[in-house]
């Protein structure tokens, strides 16, 4: 038996509905036999009557109702059909959910699931990675699980947390990623993971980019280059300590992210490492991001738009050559 990243997300929601009667699911097309645009809630409506609800096409109100319900003691999970449509709910997320605890001292434990990231032929409005925008504003926890295990445990953690959580699940990993079984244990939220130990250079990345980085690391170790790969897991809070410890070991840093460049995850990581661990670096830090254009529809363009094994490898060689 094996579990995909997508199944892990479904199982986590099934577990939550089973174990915690404060939990309900709210989103477009998630109910009935249909079970969501990506089938992340398939079968759950039948199993948990009245707790998996379809919504009108009203992202602002979807999140608004979740905020109200959370303040009444519920633990709603809102599914955005695509992360890109959360732009409509952004005001409720940033200005309402994100300010609630600071302003009123009442927690606002909503979880917003964002099917994120690029896939072939999806284009500018079905491919976005929005973790940087949600991390920039105060009051939110922002998760970007990169493994089947994290997809499962982090979603369960997200609902347990008394604060609004933006859970960015990567669509490219839905089917590509498989594990043998659901995890029994997990790293605590807020801790980054050393996915692969190394000696010569640290690649810090998150979500789908972790796997591009890993591919490069494994392939280059054939050449005797040992790359340490760090998976941030949550981008807010960002586990600066684990990153600094890795850079202390390798002296070299490459940050790889799928968000747009300006103020993306890689900018924040580099700012932290250079302000807090400047003397750990033996060479200039570097970053690879998606290009600063909308995400292209055509696979030929899309593959060039995001960082990939080829561009990462080239960049690693360049850094090591310094």
């Amino acid at each position: 038996m094996s579990v995909t990243y997508l199944e892990a997300i479904r199982e986590a929601q099934a577990h939550l509905l089973r174990e915690d009667d404060r939990v309900y699911l709210y989103g477009q097309d998630i109910a009935g036999k249909f079970g969501g645009a990506f089938k992340a809630t398939k079968g759950l409506a039948e199993k948990f009557p009245g707790r998996v609800l379809n919504t009108p096409i009203s992202e602002d109100a979807m999140v608004g109702t979740a905020i109200g319900a959370a303040m009444e003691g519920m633990r709603p999970i809102v599914e955005m059909q695509f992360a890109d449509f959360s732009s409509i709910a952004l005001n409720q997320i940033l200005n309402n959910a994100g300010t609630q605890f600071w302003r009123t001292n009442q927690p606002c434990p909503i979880t917003v699931r964002l099917p994120s990231g690029g896939t072939k032929g999806s284009g500018p409005f079905h491919s976005q990675s929005m973790e940087a925008i949600y991390s920039h504003y105060p009051g939110l926890v922002v998760m970007t699980p990169a493994t089947v295990e994290d997809a499962y445990t982090m979603l369960i953690d997200a609902v347990a947390i008394d604060d609004p959580v933006i859970y960015c699940e990567h669509k490219y990993l839905y089917y590509h990623l498989k594990a043998d079984a659901l995890p029994k244990e997990a790293l605590p939220i807020g801790k980054a993971r050393i996915v692969r130990p190394g000696r010569d250079l640290t690649i810090v990345s998150n979500s789908a980019m972790v796997h591009e980085a890993l591919a490069v690391a494994n392939q280059m170790s054939g050449e005797g280059v040992e790359i340490e790969v760090v998976d941030l897991r949550t981008v807010k809070p960002l586990d600066t300590d684990t990153v600094l410890a890795s850079v202390a070991r390798t002296g070299r840093l490459l940050c790889v992210g799928e968000t747009f460049p300006w103020g993306g995850v890689t900018a924040e990581v580099i700012a932290r490492v250079t302000t807090e661990g400047f003397h750990l670096l033996d060479a200039a830090p570097a970053r690879l991001n998606a290009k600063d254009t909308p995400i292209p529809y055509h696979p030929n363009l899309w593959e060039t738009h995001r960082p990939n094994a080829k561009s990462i490898t080239a960049k690693v060689r360049q850094i090591l050559a310094e």
Binding site: P56, P76, P237
Partner: protein, 343 residues
Amino acid sequence: MLQTAERDATTKSKVPPHERYLEAFRWMLQTRIFEEKLTALYRGGQIIGGVYVGRGQEAVSTACGLFLQKGDIFGPLIRDQAGRAAGGEPLVNVTRTYLGSRQGPMRGRDGNIHRGCAEAGQLAMISHLGSLISVVVGKLMAKRMKGEKDFIGLTTIGEGGMQTGATHEGMNIAAVEKVPFVLVASNNHFAYSTPNDRQFACAQLVDRAKAYGYEGHAVDGTNLEACLNVIGGAVDRARNGGPPQLVVASLLRLAGHGEHDDASYVPAEMKQEPWAQDCVPATEKLILANGWLDDATLMQWRAEISAEVEKAVETAQREAGPVGSEEDWSAIATRRLLDEPGE
């Protein structure tokens, strides 16, 4: 209040047109006296930030707060001092907020009309108009899921706020979710300086009710009896299983948008409109004319209210403001997940 009101009422020859009429009037009077004090403090430079009053809208707002019960949800907005008070918010919460006491409900973190009052089921609005509607709907959904009974949710909006996308999505989702919800809209003919003709183009805003599957009610917002009957009736309909209710009150904002605004853009003719009359003196006149209260009682009320107001102001003025160096700078409840960007 209830006691006073009923006693006075019953000792009179004629009975007021609504059993809670006098009680309601007292809240209107309190609000008028209190907000005039806030305005004076603002002019005296003692207020932090702006002051926004509900002058002219006391009848509608009082009716919004008056019929709520324990377990109900109230989402007051910018003109709702009367409804907040009638709904159970103590005056000192208001003065503490406006005067910047760290003991206020928002602890100096947010101000003026953004305050909420959890004990009274009153939500703390954010500025973005319309955003509160879906939040109230969500609270009602949660109460239903938890098996609570007999609750309703009421929130208010202006004719300008009705043009936001959030209001549309919120009104629609309330109807789809079939929650016991009342939206009271006050068309006070201005959104800040903008008149109705640059805000909407429908014949009457109450036509929006049918567009969402609500029951719609238009009311003269300057007539206390009408406000009590219509808003009270809408609350009853919602509580007893009716569809969502939209009440649209017509009136004129009798102050600036905020106390910084002289409202010189309001045309003189408009002030002659029947819906432009000031509900507070109008109601008082009616009460005295009908002998529902005698002058003595009315004078006594004024005295009591002034004392309450002075007390609330003095209390807040004695209290210290927050201190930056002592503040807990955490935007999240889960301490262990605090992000430390470093410098």
